[in-house]
């Protein structure tokens, strides 16, 4: 990059040995990018447990964690040091404050219109798909798309101790998204499992439905599947 405006990532703090980069995101935020996506949930849990009052938001995503801070109370450099210091600790991840309970069991009817499609694209039978889906321990990696819509990943993918010999249910999105997916629909796409908190358009493959209320802003914990929550699906005949 030329000298005119320096490096576009001039806010980057070298933290190569921690396999993370701190990227600039305006006057009051920075983006932590992790080399290893499996470290997002544990680091998010640790930052959340240790967050000083100047942390306004912590937003985990696929490979990053966004830190929004109160720029009137703390400087960017201090925020960067805090992140690096937390990342360097080996302490096990603490339970996450807004995930309660930390393991959720969801009763699920495997009646989705795309179940046969998922079975054929994974090369498994319908029964094997259901077995794989109920055998896996899923973890809410992050929320996006709509309030309470969690991106669930199998725990072994995230480096946890979940069942390791379960077939992966990695299917593509539908070629043509649906204009209306009913609330409670359980769906798969791109290695993730998700549940639609309310009726909305959607392109994921629908395998079943649950009566669980995924999102209720009047609850103490509005999102049933806050990041870090572990999920097991139980077949509801």
């Amino acid at each position: 990059m030329g000298a005119e405006w320096g490096s576009p990532t001039s806010g980057t703090v070298p933290a190569a040995d921690l396999e993370l980069r701190l990227l600039p995101m305006g006057e009051s935020a920075l983006l932590i990018e992790l080399t290893d996506a499996r470290r997002v949930v544990p680091l998010y849990a640790r930052l959340r447990a240790a967050a000083p009052a100047w942390v306004m938001e912590l937003v985990p995503a696929a490979k990053t964690i966004l830190v929004v801070f109160d720029a009137r109370r703390v400087g960017r450099a201090a925020v960067g040091h805090w992140v690096v210091d937390q990342a360097a600790r080996d302490a096990p991840a603490a339970p996450i404050a807004d995930a309660d309970p930390v393991t959720v069991e969801l009763a699920l009817r495997y009646n989705g219109p795309d179940l046969d499609e998922v079975a054929s694209s994974t090369g498994l039978g319908v029964e094997e798909v259901i077995r794989a889906h109920t055998a896996a321990v899923w973890v809410s990696a992050f929320i996006g798309f709509a309030p309470g819509f969690a991106y669930l990943e199998p725990e072994d993918v995230l480096g946890g101790s979940g069942a390791r010999d379960v077939p992966r249910l990695d299917v593509p999105r539908r070629a043509v998204p649906r204009t209306a997916v009913p609330a409670g629909s359980v769906a798969l796409a791109a290695g993730y499992c998700g549940i639609y908190p309310r009726e909305s358009p959607g392109g994921w493959q629908l395998i079943g439905s649950t009566e669980a209320v995924l999102w209720d802003p009047s609850r103490a914990h509005p999102a049933l599947l806050a990041p870090g929550t572990r999920v097991r699906f139980v077949r509801d005949e």
Partner: protein, 319 residues
């Protein structure tokens, strides 16, 4: 009566019935009128945008002019046209871009015309009409005590993306005060900002390089800086779309890269595949999958909230 209960005339007038008594009647909303406050930061990890007043400084000024606590709810309007009638004497203020505030008596006659940035008493039966601004877009009408509405996740902000918070205001709605006043401010009006004119040229937004500026390199930043952009009519509280003569293009090695979704902030300048930037406003999605080339300063996010469709705008890159 004890000495403590001998209050000033103003306090005696509002004190007894404050929290529940109807105070304002919406006669007309203009194109869009929403309740807004300081938003609901702290729940983005649950998929909840922070939302809140689009132009934070104008919102804070309106509350300050009527002596409200920071965070009290106001009415946010777009392009004027808001008409409210006082159901009892209420102290109000409007902040935002220059416009006329026409106060009409119960007899329908114009009683007085105030400028934006003044606080004034609206007597029972009087209406105030927020005029169409010559420049700028959004006004904030504050009422002493703040506006009551059910809070969702601690906030009364209407979020147009997630649907959280109060529904948009409609003609016929009746609003009560929330009792969120404090001491009277020392001033009853704002020092007017210099009025912009067409001759001043495009509005300038200050940005710094964003997390994915390296996807675009120096040519991309130069294109962001040197283009006179035009505000698209497809803009709202989620984001402001810009069009320009030439799109911003990625560096050759980045053309086919896909960005996993990552956290977003108000003021993020996202570059979708079209190459024409989208500047996120307060109801932005919490995560996004297009690279962010630059991020606006906080003050420029307020300026962004006042941009009108068709208006020219440029960006100045700060280190």
């Amino acid at each position: 009566m004890t000495n403590e209960s001998v209050m000033s005339g103003q306090e005696r007038r509002d004190a007894p019935a404050l929290p529940i008594s109807p105070a304002l009647w919406i006669e007309a909303t203009g194109p869009l009128a929403l309740l807004q406050d300081a938003g609901r930061p702290g729940s983005a990890q649950l998929g909840v945008p922070a939302s809140g007043a689009a132009d934070r400084s104008a919102y804070a000024a309106a509350n300050r002019l009527v002596g409200n606590r920071a965070g009290a709810a106001c009415i946010e309007t777009v392009f004027g046209g808001l008409v409210v009638r006082a159901l009892r004497a209420v102290f109000v203020a409007v902040a935002g871009p220059p416009a006329e505030l026409v106060v009409t008596g119960a007899d329908g006659r114009t009683r007085v015309v105030h400028p934006v940035g003044y606080s004034f008493l609206l007597d029972a039966g009087e209406t105030v009409t927020v005029g169409v601004p010559e420049r700028g877009l959004r006004h904030y009408l504050a009422m002493r005590g703040g506006i009551e509405a059910e809070r969702v996740l601690g906030s009364r902000a209407s979020d147009v993306l997630s649907g959280l918070g109060p529904v948009p205001l409609e003609a016929g709605a009746v609003l009560a005060t929330a009792g969120e006043q404090e001491g009277w401010p020392a001033a009853d009006h704002l020092v007017p900002a210099p009025v912009r004119s067409e001759a001043d040229g495009p509005i300038v937004l200050d940005v710094s390089a964003g997390p994915r500026a390296d996807w675009f390199g120096e040519p991309g930043l130069r294109s962001l800086r040197d283009t006179i952009w035009t505000v698209s009519p497809e803009s709202n509280r989620v984001g402001v779309r810009l069009t320009g003569e030439h799109p911003i293009v990625r560096l050759p090695g980045r053309r086919d890269d896909e960005l996993p979704s990552e956290g977003m902030v108000a003021g993020a300048v996202q570059v979708p595949p079209s190459g024409f930037p989208v500047l996120f406003l307060r109801d932005h999605p919490v995560t996004g999958g297009y690279p962010v080339i630059a991020v606006l300063t906080e003050a420029s996010v307020d300026a962004l909230a006042q941009l009108r469709p068709g208006e020219p705008v440029r960006m100045r890159i700060r280190l």
